[in-house]
Symmetry: C2
Subunit: 408 residues, 2 copies
């Protein structure tokens, strides 16, 4: 991919109205553009990163039996009246031509339960695990945390339908495992924290929290064990329940949450099934969310330096950033790119020969692709390429074969 | 994929309020679910089909230099006032918490032109070709054509930014070529028809029309040549301009459209660039749309029989539908599925042993996967599988090796 064809350029300055680190670097790097507060465009670099996150989520959710579908945002008022959630202030509401009240979906428990009415009626139809990666709308009072808190944002929402409470309990733990894999793979250390059910359910739920000053939550956690609690929940406990060491307190970003819904939605909609003995029972449900854009913003918050983003290889928009310092070495650069792409390594090629090397090095640091290769008359004369990891300061001369052995 | 895990079942009846063939078969087959008129869920079978269409579109648009981004639906009133399109009746309008007027995007010329202001300022920044596959909202007065006319629907919209009119003219023809490939690959014969620019521009534009009684447009076309015209445009011409034979008239479905926007949007937003001589000029734009869901519905309209859908292999949700007629041959079925999946053939396995063979054959015809394999005690005894193409009536006994040679 040619950097000059990316539609978006790096910018010297980001708007001053959003002070978060992720907004600053993602806007300046040409990953996103802000239309209004909380409403973002994912530019090509940003969309590639987001899609890498989505691919990891899909792999892990498919692996635990999830099947993907896609539900709409436009939803009629009566759907929400069924569960008495039409009144929720975060829901954007509008009237269509016919004067009918419609809301924009901020979650999809109601929508999927209604669909399930046509498709689940017998124990033979259970269990079902359906998810989507789809756009949600929430009229947030504050939306100042870059892409971490959007008014329009992507969400992976998974819904489980089981015949028994025991099956739900097992699947709930299975989802915890999948979530831990997802966060680890995108480069985040997330604590699984017990929390209240909030607007969803009176049952307990779990949040996944990443320690960061950019967070809006607060957790108490043990730096050595996996022990962590939401500060509202734990009260005044001061030592780790496992290792007895003092607990630390930190701001944190909620990157996922999981809920045992039980029969709340199935009873509201009359979603029941006939069991093996012909007895009619309500379906037992669960709901599991992750925001891919929020994950992306959180990675920027925890993985950057003064110069820009440091993407983990797993979600970086490209693996290698190739800079040919002058058009005189373009031919050699093309050979290197050919070798990389033949080995399925994705490459962003900085073809902006009109810019100074200094500007281009700065842009590479800002964009944060894991490996930078510089090709100059000096490296060509030496028959080498100059390789630098984004996270390290030292560059090394090596030949392309050695580099391929290093990263493939 | 197990048919019992698809979340959705086949249904005996579709709602009576939508009489289109595509709604009937897609609802009954478990591909889609209607929330309200024009607002659809894509169930797992439907989403797989839609994503196959999206993949073809992405390949062809990437091949002509398109880069993908993703713009939001929530858009402030002032964006639309810039081009005097806030008044458009099809736009859903709402007020947010702060009382600010917002519209839901029914197209994205305004949004992308505004983004381009930050990223295009010099001839060095041109050309740019950016597209998205994203959800649009239009408050359609009628929405009775199944997924062909939605109030919320997916759209591939591509926007071109050029320095000169000549460059736009060349790219416009390049897009025509890509569109023809896309329609052919998804299994449609689309005529490229000259049309008025409509709400977009006073310049001429082109529509791509598929002959079908389900259409809302009308074209006059030559069955032998590629000649075709919108009936409104052509007037009373009765013979083909190429072969001079009499023209046919038919209803048709518009599956794509392309517009030369010229400087309409760049002038409204002040999107200009400095050319090689330091002269400031407005950027020359174009806009190119295809609705993937509409394509999917159109394929159903033109490719079905009395029993159900006949998917082209290129977009079918799975290539092979395997039916094991009894649980006693399940092990043999698993071997066949293993062989198919090892050869990268996607398989839907009908594991619903509780249903009669008759019900399962009917469902297979309704769902319309291109190849049906039946495994029964009879076929196992013969050491064969029974193969039938959805579009043909005769089944053939063959061994799995022969089948793999046939389709791989």
């Amino acid at each position: 991919m040619l950097q000059s064809h990316l539609f978006a350029k790096t910018l010297r300055e980001a708007p001053k109205d959003d002070v978060s680190v992720n907004a600053e670097f993602l806007i300046r790097g040409g990953f996103v553009d802000k239309l209004v507060a909380g409403v973002w465009t994912y530019l090509p670099l940003g969309l590639r990163t987001l899609e890498n996150i989505n691919a990891i989520i899909r792999e892990e959710i498919n692996a635990i039996g999830g099947v993907e579908l896609y539900m709409p945002a436009l939803q009629p008022r009566d759907l929400w009246e069924t569960t008495d959630r039409w009144k929720v202030e975060e829901m954007y509401k509008l009237k269509d031509r016919g004067g009918r009240d419609m809301g924009l979906g901020w979650t999809h428990e109601e929508a999927i339960t209604k669909i399930a009415l046509s498709h689940i009626s017998s124990y033979r139809d259970l269990p079902q695990y359906a998810y989507q990666i789809q756009t949600k709308f929430r009229d947030e009072p504050r939306a100042k945390s870059g892409i971490i808190r959007g008014r329009e944002f992507l969400m992976k929402d998974l819904y489980s339908f089981n015949a028994t409470r025991e099956e739900l309990d097992v699947f709930y733990e299975v989802v915890k495992g999948a979530y831990n894999k997802i966060f680890k793979r995108v480069g985040l250390k997330a604590y699984c924290v017990e929390a209240s059910g909030g607007a969803f359910t009176k049952e307990y739920s779990h949040e996944f929290q990443v320690v960061s000053d950019a967070g809006e939550d607060e957790i108490i956690y043990c730096k050595e064990c996996l022990f962590a609690r939401n500060k509202e929940v734990i009260g005044d406990v001061v030592n780790c329940q496992s290792c007895k060491k003092p607990l630390a307190t930190s701001k944190s970003i909620e990157v996922g949450n999981i809920f045992k819904l039980g029969t709340k939605f199935s009873e509201a909609f009359g979603l029941s099934f006939t069991d093996e003995n012909g007895e009619k029972k309500p379906v037992i449900m669960g709901s599991y969310g992750i925001g891919p854009g929020r994950l992306m913003g959180t990675v920027v918050e925890v993985s950057h330096d003064d110069h820009g983003i440091i993407w983990p290889e797993s979600i970086a928009p490209f693996r290698v950033h190739v800079l040919a310092l002058s058009s005189s070495v373009n031919e050699e650069a093309q050979k290197v790119i050919f070798d990389l792409e033949q080995n399925k390594v994705s490459v962003l090629f900085d073809d902006r020969f009109g810019k100074t090397p200094g500007e281009r090095f700065s842009d590479a640091d800002l964009i944060g692709i894991p490996w930078r290769i510089v090709i100059s008359e000096k490296t060509v004369k030496a028959g080498k390429i100059e390789v630098k990891k984004r996270a390290e300061s030292e560059a090394t001369l090596m030949d392309i074969g050695a580099f391929l052995r290093l990263i493939c």
